[in-house]
Structures are given as C-alpha cells and as structure tokens.
C-alpha cells in the first residue's frame, strides 16, 4: 500500500447529500432544493451531480448490460429468461443470430439452457428485452455458474479487468462475468473450484483491505508463482 486509498463515505436512505449546489443523480431524490440518498451506498460526485452507488440489492437491468441468463419459459415466438432482475426478460427470435421458424424456438434454446446476452431495452413499466445479436452472445455449454452479489461485480472484474485477468492467468480457466451477478467458469474441475473459491472470497466481507493482494496470495498457495500474474 503506497498511498493508502481514501475511504469512501457510506450513505443511508434519507441522508442529506447536498443543497442547491448539486444536481441529483442516480440513487438520489430531491426535496425542497436539497438532495438526499434513496439508497444504502457510496456517495459519488462528478460535474456537480451527486449519485449513490448501491452496495446491496437485486440486479437492476440497464440497456447494453452483459448478462448471463437461464431460459425459464418458451413460446412459439419468444423465450423468457431469468437474469436475476425483478422481472423475467424476453428474448425474441429476431434478436438471435438464428433464423427461426414460428413454433420452432425449442430447437435453438430449451428451458434450463444458459445464455450470454445483452440487455436491449428496459421500458417504463420494466419490460425487459434481451438481444443475442452481439458477437459474444451464445448458448453456454459445460463449465459452471457462480453467483455473486450484483454490487460486487465491479470488484470481481477489477479495475480495467485486472481481477479477471489475474484469475484467468493463474487458473487457465475461461471466465465470463455478467453484470447481473452471474459468472460462468470453464476449465479443469480443480481449477474451476479455485475460481469459485476466489469468487466466494470476493463476495465475503472479511478480506476487504487489499482484496487483490489476498486473492493473489490465495492463488499463489494453490499454484505457486509459476503462473505469475501479468506485470501491471
């Protein structure tokens, strides 16, 4: 630790964030020219707009989010997908890479299948549409899923993808992280077990200071220095 990171301020629903000098951003509300937090989270301020990053709670979808979903239902011309949001998301054949005849959805995706997709739209009454037009989108086979709190996803990814890169370097696993708090791991069983334990470490609240270092230490006890992480 060279300069020691600055602590972030935790705010609580109803807490005053600023007066007339700031604009209300996401996770806040304005009342009589004052801005308050509506969430439990961390206060941020940028260009005069205050916002709150949530520290807990369910996944809330936004357009373009990369998500890992599980097919829960299927009709002749659509699928319903669980993406851990409050509502199931819909996927229509036109948003897939395949040409699908009416009634033929089951040939492509069945109930219980796992997909990687992007959020296309979320309308005002929270109907969610997904798209699989993106080139990374596909049905996932093999490997395993690991859940993580949506608020910890940024941590699992790490600054500029550093945590993912380190996990992949050591374990030689493939790792995909959905914004919705689902990760997909594929590799040798013992390596996947290491990744899922590392994900648990990130989820747990015990090892917070220097999380990257403690995950690295854990990986080094499993693999030694041989697979050493990329120099930063």
């Amino acid at each position: 630790m060279d300069s020691g990171p600055a602590r972030r301020e935790i705010v609580i629903p109803g807490e005053l964030l600023g007066g007339r000098n700031v604009k209300p951003g996401r996770g806040t509300f304005a009342e009589r020219e004052e801005v308050f937090s509506s969430l439990l989270g961390i206060r941020t301020e940028r260009y005069g707009r205050v916002g709150v990053i949530r520290l807990s709670g369910r996944y809330m979808p936004y357009p373009d989010d990369l998500v890992i979903g599980i097919i829960t239902d299927r009709g002749p011309s659509h699928w319903l997908v669980n993406i851990k949001a409050p509502y199931p998301a819909a996927l229509h054949p036109a948003e897939t890479p395949w040409r699908i005849d009416f009634g033929d959805t089951g040939r492509y995706l069945e109930i219980g299948d796992t997909i990687i997709a992007n959020v296309l739209t979320v309308d005002e009454i929270k109907h969610i549409e997904l798209t699989m037009q993106d080139m990374d989108s596909r049905r996932l086979t093999g490997g395993q899923l690991v859940d993580i709190s949506p608020s910890k996803v940024a941590r699992l990814i790490g600054a500029r993808g550093s945590m993912i890169a380190m996990l992949m370097d050591f374990t030689r696993c493939r790792l995909l992280v959905g914004q919705n708090g689902r990760a997909w791991i594929d590799g040798e069983p013992k390596d996947m077990a290491v990744v899922s334990r590392a994900v648990e470490m990130i989820e747990e609240r015990a090892h917070m200071m220097g999380l990257t270092e403690s995950v690295r230490a854990f990986l080094e006890t499993e693999y030694g220095m041989r697979a050493g992480p990329r120099p930063r």
């Binding site: 109803g14 709670g57 699992l156």
Partner: protein, 280 residues
C-alpha cells in the same frame, strides 16, 4: 398490547423512588442491539434484541408480484407479514395468522409503503417478513425498526428509514417502552413509528387512557426515543457495510452514469469471449 386480557391492576409498577420493575426511570428504554445481514437466502435481513424481544426481519424483492392479478402496473406492492412463532409467548400460540397479526401486518405495510419508492418497480412486490421469535411487549415496534434496516440492506430505494418505539402510562406516570408486565397491568400503550428526519408519523396506535397533557408529554418522549433508535439503525447499517465501502476505495472514481457507454463491439471475431465486461 400483546393480546393479554386486561387484568385489574394489582401489581405495583413504580416504586417509591420512581423506578420501574426493572429499575428503569420513566424515560429509559430497554437495551437494544441490532445486526444487519443475518440471513443468507433473503435479499435483506436484520435481527433485533430489544429487552426481552427477539425479532428477525427479512426482505425479498423487488420481485414479480404473485398472484398476477394483484400486480399494479404503476408501482410495486409493499406488503408485510408479521408473524409470531408458536413458542414466542408464554401460552403457546397456534401457528398461522390471527386477527391481531393481520392487523399489525396491515399497518406496518402501510407505514413502509409511504417511504419506499415503489413507483420505480411497477408490477413487482417488496415483501417484508417479520418473525417474532420471543415476545416481551413492543414487538411491532421492534419488528418495524428491524424491517426498516432490512429494507436498506436489500437495496430498496426509500425516502428514509422508519424508526419506532412505544410509550405508555403505568401507575399514572407516562413511561417509555413498556415491558410485558407494564403493558398488561398499565393504563395506556401507544406504539409510534416516524420518519425521524421529517417528523412524519407513519404508524400510531393507542389503547388505554391518556389526558391531552399526557399525550403531549408521551409524544415528546417517544419522539426523542425514536431519534435515538434512528441513530442505532444507521450505526448498524454502517457497521455492516464499512468494509464493503473500503473495498470500493481502490476502484477508479465510478460515478453511476445516467447511461453506461456501449460496450466495445469491434472485437475481432476470433477474440475469445471470456473477458467479461470492464467498467469504465
């Protein structure tokens, strides 16, 4: 208030020194301890010990409301289920809801409905479950106080926390936070829940007998107490999330953008797809 028959008072509840059965002064509360995030499965949870009360609160949601015909296309349903475990009281309580717990569930639901930004979640429900594991008067106040921090733990957007406490009258003296014997043999009991920041009263019940002056005194007393409970709620939440906040501290300043930048789509076709997504 705990549905015990009102027995003519025989017991002396305040001694010659003005102290109550457990040695408290009229304005003293019982010891309170709260903890956030005590259950794994629920989206948010909290546990509170308040004198002889032991209460768990859990929150699920926002989630799709069931059955579907109950869904409101304009906002989420905020619904609370207050339940007493059969062994929580001296005489075993038959499992399942009785009229008392249905009523309490209703008034607590209404209190939370006014603070949750329910219009952000059309067609959904926010479900609050309060389980009284051990009861010693004031269970609805303890449950409401715990449920409020469980809602924050579940990441539910709210105008504010709600805090609650009861005030009453025993042996003709206005006293804060009655325990069971005081409630059973006292003269009045008045549970109150408020938004401490604004002074809005979200739950108010009273039974017994208060003069107008006594009501004013009781209200002032309970308002102060609720302010103290509010501080305890905030402390419990901060304690639970302190480490989490540190965890974010070595990330780049990450203001929640109003809309995220679209992910890069120009990756070459052969690029392996496993590089998750990198936040900007």
């Amino acid at each position: 208030m705990e549905d015990v028959e009102h027995i003519e008072k025989k017991m002396k509840l305040i001694d010659e020194n003005g102290l109550r059965l457990d040695g408290r002064k009229p304005e003293d509360m019982r010891p309170i301890r709260m903890e956030v995030g005590v259950l794994k499965r629920a989206d948010g949870s909290a546990y509170i010990e308040w004198g002889g009360n032991k209460v768990l609160a859990a929150v699920y949601g926002p989630r799709e409301a069931h059955p579907r015909h109950l869904q409101d296309p304009t906002k989420a349903l905020v619904q609370c289920r207050y339940n007493m475990a059969p062994f929580s009281v001296t005489e075993r309580k038959r499992p399942g809801p009785d009229r008392r717990s249905v009523e309490i569930s209703k008034v607590i639901s209404e209190a939370f409905d006014s603070v949750v930004f329910s219009e952000q979640f059309p067609r959904a429900s926010v479900d609050i479950f309060i389980e009284i594991l051990q009861a010693d008067a004031g269970t609805r106040c303890a449950g409401l106080t715990a449920a409020s921090i469980a809602l924050a733990d579940a990441g539910i957007p709210m105008r504010d926390l709600v805090a609650s406490c009861a005030v009453g009258k025993i042996d003709g003296v206005v006293c804060l936070d009655l325990r069971k014997e005081e409630d059973n043999y006292g003269d009045a009991d008045m549970p109150v829940a408020m938004i401490p920041r604004t002074g809005e009263v979200l739950l108010l019940q009273m039974d017994g007998h208060l003069t107008l002056d006594e009501f004013d005194k009781a209200f002032g007393m309970v308002k102060d107490a609720i302010g103290g409970i509010y501080e305890m709620q905030k402390d419990a939440l901060r304690k639970r999330y302190a480490v989490t906040a540190e965890e974010f501290s070595d990330l780049p300043e990450q203001a929640p953008p109003e809309r995220r930048a679209p992910p890069e789509r120009e990756a070459p076709p052969e690029m392996p797809p496993e590089d998750g997504e990198v936040p900007q």
